[in-house]
């Protein structure tokens, strides 16, 4: 590692070119390019078996790659370098810690591995385990154990944090809490690489997302832009049986359940025409809704019915 190399990549926390990983005859990752800027929250989305975890574990240094170039904070994570590991925090998908140590002891144990750890009190507050600090790990709930995982990942005050499915198995309230925590990390200037299969999570947290299907990135961008890509807002409503037919400028199509769908490039104008027509004809538009396209719509479109395979 040279200084010039480090400086060249200073604004990019992660840079990946043509990454491939083959297990026997199975191609888990088939040529991925990724760039994650410093201070960015980046989400990797994909169905089970899409290669998310394989990709992240290569970036973490837990797996070797078959080919391609990988640079994490200017280092090749495959080199297993101690100095590099001091700058990176890893929260794996399912890992335990010693069940018989307390929350505080466990965090301190991991803090001890790093030259400049975050203060214990800050970590307890960040993950909301202050009240459980003297509890044995064994006694924590699933959500609390996951928060402890995050505290351990942050113990060394890393520049970059990997979060592999941080909220899987959380109830909605715990998930909200975890999201606020990740937002807090962003405000501290940390770069976060997150994998998830919850679309709302990616929409809420990520500056940019990449959707991974069968080992390849099929879409990448800011969640809002991606959701809007090639798709429009939809207006949905029902008409009474005796309603007159719709005018030509409102080309609604029946959705099969008796309601009508109207694609709206310009939702304000469309809605205005529709309601004006309805008032004019004395019609009540039942169940009138306007739906904004979501990341989930795009995801389902991209993954299709056969895109996901069980792990």
């Amino acid at each position: 590692m040279t200084t010039s190399q480090h400086h060249a990549n200073a604004e990019l926390a992660i840079e990946v070119h043509g990454l491939r990983k083959t297990y026997g005859s199975h191609d888990a990752v088939r040529g991925i390019d990724l760039q994650v800027a410093s201070g960015e929250v980046f989400a990797l989305l994909g169905p089970n078996g899409a290669g998310k975890t394989t990709t992240v574990e290569i970036l973490e240094g837990h797996r070797t790659r078959s080919s391609g170039q990988v640079s994490v904070l200017g280092h090749d994570p495959g080199l297993n370098d101690r100095a590099h590991k001091q700058r990176v925090g890893i929260v794996l998908q399912s890992t335990s810690v010693d069940q018989y140590l307390s929350v505080e002891e466990t965090i301190n144990q991991f803090r001890g591995y790093y030259p400049q750890p975050l203060p214990l009190e800050d970590l307890l507050d960040l993950v909301g385990l202050r009240d459980q600090r003297r509890e044995r790990v064994k006694k924590l709930s699933g959500g609390q154990q996951r928060r402890l995982d995050v505290a351990i990942g942050l113990a060394g005050n890393p520049e970059l944090l990997f979060l592999d499915e941080p909220t899987t198995g959380f109830d909605p309230a715990a998930r909200r809490g975890a999201w606020e925590m990740v937002r807090g990390l962003k405000s501290l200037g940390k770069t976060v690489l997150l994998t998830t299969h919850y679309m709302e999570e990616a929409e809420y947290l990520a500056d940019r997302v990449a959707i991974l299907v069968q080992g390849q990135i099929v879409a990448e961008g800011a969640p809002g832009d991606l959701a809007l890509r090639d798709r429009t807002t939809t207006v949905r409503f029902r008409l009474p049986d005796d309603a007159p037919s719709l005018p030509n400028e409102l080309p609604a199509t029946p959705d099969g359940s008796g309601a009508y769908l109207l694609a709206a490039d310009n939702p304000t104008r469309t809605l205005h025409s529709l309601t004006a027509w309805a008032v004019e004809n004395g019609i009540e538009l039942e169940e009138l809704t306007v739906t904004h396209p979501t990341l989930e719509d795009l995801f389902i479109e991209l993954v299709g019915e056969t895109g996901g395979s069980e792990e």
Binding site: E60, G61, H62, R82, A83, K85, Q86, V88, I90, L92, S94, T95, S96, V97, D98, Q99, Y100, L101, E105, Q109, F110, G112, Y113, Y114, R136, I152, G156
Partner: protein, 258 residues
């Protein structure tokens, strides 16, 4: 902080966790002591005959025998179980993602096992001396300590080595116990093998447990003069130590196999 300090800090955490885990503390510490009391109550007054035809009281047989059992439990069983469970829960993998050198983590577990060994040997020797009137081999003390040191190193290494053939935590107790309990029974640990068929003792001689037991018995045997060094037995244990170390280096896994 340097790697040795990190390893020593690891020992402290291992120790706190060990004493709070009732199952670990019971099987490692209480079990051998319970065996010592039971065997002494049942057979303590009977006699054992050594190779030269001298007879002595079975209590003198049981103190070194139970020491072997305790050392094997605190090292081989303890290390193999501890590492298998840590690996299964993903703890080894998590450690690999931190700047802690991998060996420091394993060293923490091993040093802790050795400390447990020292504690157990002192308790067993003390109890034998106080409660069962066994003479401790003060003149052969260097040989006892050397035997214990080589044995602890060997069985810790074999405990590490066996984790390579343990696929996951569910299989750990079965593989660890199945590999060690039969050996303990055919290795002069609980029962003197005076009347055993030759093929059985020949089989037992292949493995390190009987060599540790014979070296310990020889040190405690009041009729055996000299310093008590049993070089042949120590050499067999050392050979297993080297084999176990090579096997570990080649096959050790940081993640479970499903």
């Amino acid at each position: 902080m340097n790697s040795i300090m990190l390893a020593l800090r690891q020992v402290r955490y291992e120790n706190s966790a060990f004493w709070r885990n009732p199952a670990a503390a019971f099987f490692t510490i209480v079990f051998p002591l319970m065996f010592m009391v039971i065997f002494n109550l049942i057979f303590g007054s009977q006699e054992v005959t050594d190779e030269s035809g001298n007879t002595y009281n079975l209590s003198t047989f049981y103190v070194p025998g139970i020491m072997v059992f305790a050392v094997v439990g605190a090292t081989y069983t303890n290390v193999a179980m501890g590492i298998s469970f840590a690996r299964d829960g993903g703890l080894l993998k998590r450690m690999r993602g931190t700047p802690l050198p991998s060996w420091s983590y394993l060293a923490g577990k091993i040093v802790h096992s050795v400390l447990l060994t020292v504690l157990l040997v002192i308790i067993v020797a003390g109890a034998g001396w106080l409660a069962f009137d066994v003479d401790l081999p003060t003149t052969k003390l260097p040989s006892v300590l050397l035997t214990l040191a080589i044995a602890a190193a060997t069985f810790c290494t074999l405990g590490l080595a066996v984790t390579s053939i343990i696929p996951n935590a569910d299989a750990a107790p079965a593989i660890v116990n199945a590999s060690i309990l039969p050996l303990l029974f055919i290795s002069d640990v609980f029962i003197p093998l005076d009347d055993a068929p030759v093929w059985l003792t020949t089989l037992a001689d292949v493995f390190p447990v009987r060599h540790m037991a014979l070296a310990m018995h020889s040190a405690f045997n009041p009729f055996e003069a000299g310093a008590g060094f049993e070089w042949a037995h120590l050499l067999v244990m050392a050979a297993w130590l080297v084999a176990g170390a090579l096997f570990t280096i080649r096959f050790f896994r940081w993640e479970p196999r499903r």
